[in-house]
């Protein structure tokens, strides 16, 4: 089973994933159409800034056990058995924000959605683009990401790749390729800017 893997060190903070996510969760399914819709579709991936102003793509990890699911008062949060995706039943949700208090990543938001009860504010989070996946598409955030910060792969494969990267970087004499050319420089620049005292 493939999963979206986040590589924060590769994020350039372009926020394209947010636009793509909002569009993918709109009624029309397109960015242009989404702009004119009410309720205005919103992203379920949240690009914030890290400690050194670097980009940080933040999205639901579909934890198991999922703290949001355990904390949900009405029992509206459940796990889709086949994909392991943690989903919200908008009809059952009571907008109590218990899940916001439980989520250690802070990735749940509250607003109306076009495919939920009209005008009702509900908890909204990443659904792994299950509707797109059913059509053979990869999640929208991954599709749009050009820097490799978001990939869609089997977790064991991702873990192996990661181990290889670390191994390469620590073995003496090895030439360590930067995660992606240019980003290391950009990250170093941001880090330096943040660390140099202002004024």
């Amino acid at each position: 089973m493939k999963k979206v893997i986040v590589h924060p060190e590769r994020c350039v903070g372009c926020m394209q994933c947010m636009l793509a996510c909002a569009a993918a969760h709109s009624r029309s399914g397109t960015l242009l159409g989404a702009l004119g819709e009410a309720p205005l579709p919103r992203s379920r991936i949240h690009v914030g800034v890290g400690a050194f102003d670097e980009g940080f793509p933040n999205r639901c990890r579909h934890c198991d056990p999922a703290p949001c699911m355990l904390a949900c008062l009405p029992g509206a949060i459940y796990r889709d058995a086949s994909s392991g995706t943690v989903l919200v039943d908008a009809d059952r949700c009571i907008n109590c924000a218990s899940c916001a208090m439980a989520c250690p990543y802070g990735v749940i938001r509250y607003h109306a959605v076009w495919d939920g009860p009209p005008e009702k504010i509900v908890a909204v989070k990443c659904d792994n683009c299950l509707a797109r996946q059913a059509q053979g598409l990869v999640p929208a955030c991954v599709e749009i990401c050009k820097s490799g910060a978001l990939t869609f792969e089997a977790p064991d494969r991702a873990a192996r790749r990661r181990t290889d990267e670390v191994a390469r970087s620590v073995s003496s004499g090895a030439i360590c390729p930067p995660p992606a050319p240019g980003f290391a420089l950009l990250a170093a620049h941001k880090r330096a800017r943040a660390e140099v005292p202002a004024g």
């Binding site: 800034v49 940080f56 008062l73 029992g75 218990s98 208090m101 250690p104 802070g106």
Partner: protein
């Protein structure tokens, strides 16, 4: 392995589900004096408010007991525990156990006012209580009186004013929810309630009630009296421990448990509102009578009962409240002792009506309160719960653009 669970609230339910993940066959008997499928207790206040109907309360299906192969004994109370014979008494009947869970929850704290047995004086703990309040409202209520400004008193008052009932709230402290929030957030909550017509009176108690069958008047501690035809008592809760043999099973405020939710008697466990463990932020014995901890401790108890050792680092007080356009979230030590051991950081934005307070002790976050922009409050709550040392300048956690990325890099 034979399991008996006393209480079919969320702690008992979570324990039964955890047991079944490990032991699919061991017989489970569940004794609960409330009948019907398990329901969400906090949501009864939304039924009072009229925001949802009572049919929305169940959190598990009608088939819950069947599906998990549980033998339900509903509408009955466990009356005693025979520790030596490993039996639970239900009146004359006895029920043998190898593993017992006490998940009896809590009962409303009674009040010491004369004639408090008059009609239309209610607690708000059970489905039936709200049913009774609705019944009284249907018959016509001119003024309601809410005693106590804790979570239940607050929710009762909120529900009543949302229904347009003129309501007076008597509280012992300067603002409602004084156990849950700090003075600043409390003042904001009070302002919001008063703006919608709630009459809040502080440092007052009821000495006696008056009425012919049903309550008509309350006599207050300052000698004055107040006309009221509905009273909701929300003076906190006490662990439901009356049937527990305190000479055998250690009981303090609640039933004392270790980090595996086991009492001092091997094989006997406790979880939820009835249990007393250690508060993570305070690092002292504590009863955290809240829903998420009832789920958490119930689950952990269930795993341990079925033979999978799982330890609990402690429980954490926390709450999130949404009233009108005000969102409030708090966790841990919100009102720290003024002994110089804690560092307090605060930020307030009057225009946006946001407020944030952090309490740090020994390089760790031990408490927080936030008003507005609470979506990422879980990150702070998790920091408190995991007792992670805060690296770098903690002031950045006050920033409105704060997110999980600020912690990991």
């Amino acid at each position: 392995m034979q399991y008996v669970i006393i209480g079919n609230g969320i702690a008992g339910v979570s324990a039964a589900e955890a047991i079944r993940r490990i032991d699919p066959d061991g017989p489970i008997t569940m004794i609960g004096d409330e009948t019907g499928p398990p329901y969400c207790r906090p949501m009864i206040s939304m039924v009072l408010e009229g925001r949802i109907g009572p049919e929305r309360l169940p959190v598990r299906g009608r088939d819950f007991y069947d599906r998990l192969g549980i033998m339900p004994v509903l509408g009955r109370r466990a009356t005693a525990i025979d520790v030596d014979r490993r039996q639970v008494c239900i009146g004359e009947r006895r029920c043998a156990y190898d593993r017992l869970l006490i998940a009896a929850g809590a009962d409303p704290r009674p009040i010491r006012a004369e004639a408090s047995n008059l009609g239309n004086i209610f607690f708000m703990r059970r489905r039936e209580d709200v049913h009774g309040i609705h019944h009284a409202l249907d018959a016509g209520v001119r003024r309601a009186l809410v005693l106590g400004g804790g979570l239940v008193g607050f929710k009762a008052a909120y529900g009543l004013i949302q229904q347009g009932i003129p309501t007076t709230m008597l509280i012992g402290s300067a603002y409602p929810l004084s156990m849950q929030v700090d003075a600043r957030a409390g003042a904001m909550i009070r302002e919001a309630l008063v703006a919608r017509g709630l009459d809040v009176r502080v440092n007052l108690e009821v000495r006696a009630f008056d009425g012919n069958g049903a309550v008509r008047q309350a006599h207050l501690s300052d000698g004055s009296h107040l006309d009221c035809d509905l009273v909701v008592v929300g003076k906190g809760v006490l662990p439901a421990r009356s049937f527990i043999p305190a000479e055998r099973i250690a009981v303090d405020l609640g039933v004392v448990v270790d980090d595996h939710m086991q009492t001092c008697v091997p094989g006997v466990f406790a979880a939820g509102d009835v249990a007393q463990f250690v508060d993570i932020a305070r690092q002292t014995p504590w009863v955290n009578a809240i829903w998420p901890e009832a789920v958490n401790t119930g689950r952990i108890a269930g795993f341990n009962m079925a033979g999978r050792p799982v330890a609990c680092p402690g429980t954490l007080s926390r709450n999130v409240i949404r009233i009108f356009d005000l969102d409030v979230m708090t966790a841990g030590l919100v009102n720290p002792p003024e002994d110089g051991t804690c560092q307090i950081l605060q930020a307030e934005d009057h225009r946006r009506r946001t407020y944030r307070k952090l309490v740090l002790r020994g390089g760790r976050l031990v408490g927080m309160a936030m008003v507005g922009r609470i979506e990422q409050g879980g990150v702070l709550t998790a920091l408190i719960g995991s007792r992670t040392a805060v690296r770098g300048n903690p002031e950045r956690l006050l920033d409105a653009h704060f997110n999980a990325g600020r912690l990991v890099s």
